[in-house]
Symmetry: C2
Subunit: 104 residues, 2 copies
Amino acid sequence: SRLEETVKKTVAENPVVVYSKTWCSYSSEVKTLFKKLGAEPLVIELDEMGPQGPQLQKVLERLTGQHTVPNVFIGGQHIGGCTDTLKLYRKGELEPLLSEAKSK
Amino acid sequence: SRLEETVKKTVAENPVVVYSKTWCSYSSEVKTLFKKLGAEPLVIELDEMGPQGPQLQKVLERLTGQHTVPNVFIGGQHIGGCTDTLKLYRKGELEPLLSEAKSK
Ligand SMILES: N[C@@H](CCC(=O)N[C@@H](CS)C(=O)NCC(=O)O)C(=O)O
Ligand SMILES: N[C@@H](CCC(=O)N[C@@H](CS)C(=O)NCC(=O)O)C(=O)O
Ligand code: FES
């Protein structure tokens, strides 16, 4: 579908992408972490897109198996949600992924 | 207002009360912690109450100054949100509050 192609293009062309909701603290935690690490994520707030928000969330589920937010991509690769991202960070594996994605 | 009286009564009559939303991970964290500590909270899911949900959230803001979920009360006392509750837990101050509230 056209929306599916848009998502694929977005995550391919941007080193860090976070599909988020403005009111969600798990989404805030991930956005804050990336900013702290200087990653400058592209943030897409699903609750600010009118009817396209739920449609996007459905497309993301089809593409990643994940229907929740935050939904995180680094270097075009699906990372997961807040817990997954924090886990990688604590293991020291997040920052290497970020630098690699930035340098692409 | 009548809704305000309902909230006051609810938090007075129940040792642990959590105003929550079913889709919210911060709310889940708090509910899980209380269950793990054997606290058996009364959980009120604001997103499952139709139009009364947002009204309740407004009343809670008026009563506690807090407009977010989760909104936690122990022994009739306003505790705060997820972060506040976890902070008390890590300081070892949550469980004493819970036993005191249970024994009332
Ligand atoms: N373990 C996941 C939890 C994700 C989750 O449950 N997200 C909630 C919001 S905190 C969600 O998307 N709920 C459904 C919705 O908002 O559409 C993570 O760390 O990201
Ligand atoms: N620091 C607060 C954050 C609370 C918060 O921002 N809650 C969000 C959901 S995670 C909220 O209520 N957003 C507005 C809403 O859902 O009406 C806590 O630990 O509870
Ligand atoms: S909506 Fe509360 S943590 Fe996501």
